[in-house]
Symmetry: C2
Subunit: 331 residues, 2 copies
Amino acid sequence: MKKLINDPDDVVDEMLDGMVAAHPDRLRRLSDTQVVVRTDAPLDEVGVVSGGGSGHEPTHAGYIGDGMLDGAAAGDVFSSPTADEFEALVDACDGGEGVLAVVKNYEGDVMNFETAIELAEMEGAEVATVVVNDDVAVEDSLYTSGRRGVCGTILVHKAAGAKAAEGADLADVQRVGQKVVDNVGTMGMALTSCVTPEKGEPTFDLGDEEIELGIGIHGEPGTERTGTMSADEVTDELTESVLADLDLDEDQEVLTIVNGMGGTPQMELFVVNRRLQELLDERGLDTWDAWVGDYMTSLDMAGCSITVCAVDDELKELLAAPADTPALTVR
Amino acid sequence: MKKLINDPDDVVDEMLDGMVAAHPDRLRRLSDTQVVVRTDAPLDEVGVVSGGGSGHEPTHAGYIGDGMLDGAAAGDVFSSPTADEFEALVDACDGGEGVLAVVKNYEGDVMNFETAIELAEMEGAEVATVVVNDDVAVEDSLYTSGRRGVCGTILVHKAAGAKAAEGADLADVQRVGQKVVDNVGTMGMALTSCVTPEKGEPTFDLGDEEIELGIGIHGEPGTERTGTMSADEVTDELTESVLADLDLDEDQEVLTIVNGMGGTPQMELFVVNRRLQELLDERGLDTWDAWVGDYMTSLDMAGCSITVCAVDDELKELLAAPADTPALTVR
């Protein structure tokens, strides 16, 4: 498999340098780490940080900036950052008002963030955590106890970041992050496997006439391997699974995300969004906002995920608040 | 090849509906056409419009909104919109101050836009044109006399749209669009072919150990088919070709774009950007802004293009002016 990389061992290092080189006014890399923070961190407000394995770009460093994250730690491809890196991240983003750590529910991330938080707290920092587990596909999986954290994480970044920017205290920033988690569900699917730089060949085999529903963002097995389906059929399968999990009242307002997995043309994402909105309308739900794009990817995997988040007035205000980051700008 | 589509014959229609469904506050589709315009078109200022074949998303409709395009016509995949559709576009975006048509230099687009403009002018409209031909790879090609128009087109949309939003007259809006064309160069490459929905298999064959330099955004042949190269080597090849064409003075300020072709993970684009910025620095050029992302794609092609645009104070002001579109937001 061909890739635009140099040495696979250098890919995360070079990617981070390339991100900072694209946004020198916004991003700063902590020396000798894979941690990226705002140039002006720490701010005089609650710090909001995240992190996890690389390969999900623009997650996480792409969401650093006004109104979202203060910093993010990048692990190697599909590997958790170390506890040391998480601790350096928390330390760099702690301006004295405490730090919220947004953690996707993978065992490595959770464990290393927990260790980092213990270390930071021993130094006097106040740290709260929100664990994101929005993937409705499977209860436990290859790298998780409980559900996986996937694209809904971006909405946690957005809501918590906006609340922090308002000057709210740590408990309140944590509360709105958790509120997103309590109201969001996601399910994904793959047409093709991702290919890691290290391995250089597909992580799993998927035939020319096969797709996988409920796939994870590292190529972990999903709920069902099935024959190819139309975009409308795929959309119905994913959306029904998410809605069954959320169990929303009629007329509920929702934010939706059609998320590309990295190798999917935007054309296809919009075809999926067309059916998604039609289906939600049929179900009596009210789309307040609809995002379409690559938010939480799995390297070059072709496929998509669908996220639905129930929103109330508070979440709408936070999700629509101004943000200025490399990957998401809200005026 | 697997795709998230329904009937290939419906893909453009469904995509456009899906785009409008994602942005009902911003986008409106003219009935019985593949033309999308601002919901509030025409404005009381110069209209800026564009269009071309589909398959390059977010180009063109993704750039409709405050400070960029007023509307765009979408042809079928890799096919020009008809003259009738272009005329409907010009008509819908003409608020009485004239319309600038930004046309990528492909024979079909140029011919159909010319016919549309003649028809519109017979109805009393005032229309000016900027033809974009930023691809430095080949002089003539499969679908062009002269050079192809590719990713530099986005900068023409941005500069002309910002100038129109200032209330400038048609000649002045055209002038700044042409100024971008006179100062921009792009070259692309492919790791893999794109696959059109209609054909369902690769447009051209590229071996497991081959890449193509100078590729067009429809998979048209480039300048050289060669063995695989590292990201740094690819970056050097593309950048040197662009810089040789632009022939810039030392210390010239530039805007750069590392553009993904549709199937390229962002990780790889940032690796390319790292080397690009290093190389420009070595050459004594001064990067004023660096964009990294999918701006002008070729369906699911894996690969990238590099754009360099020399900027003066006027272009910097226009390129940094506020814009609010589905694909590009500038605060």
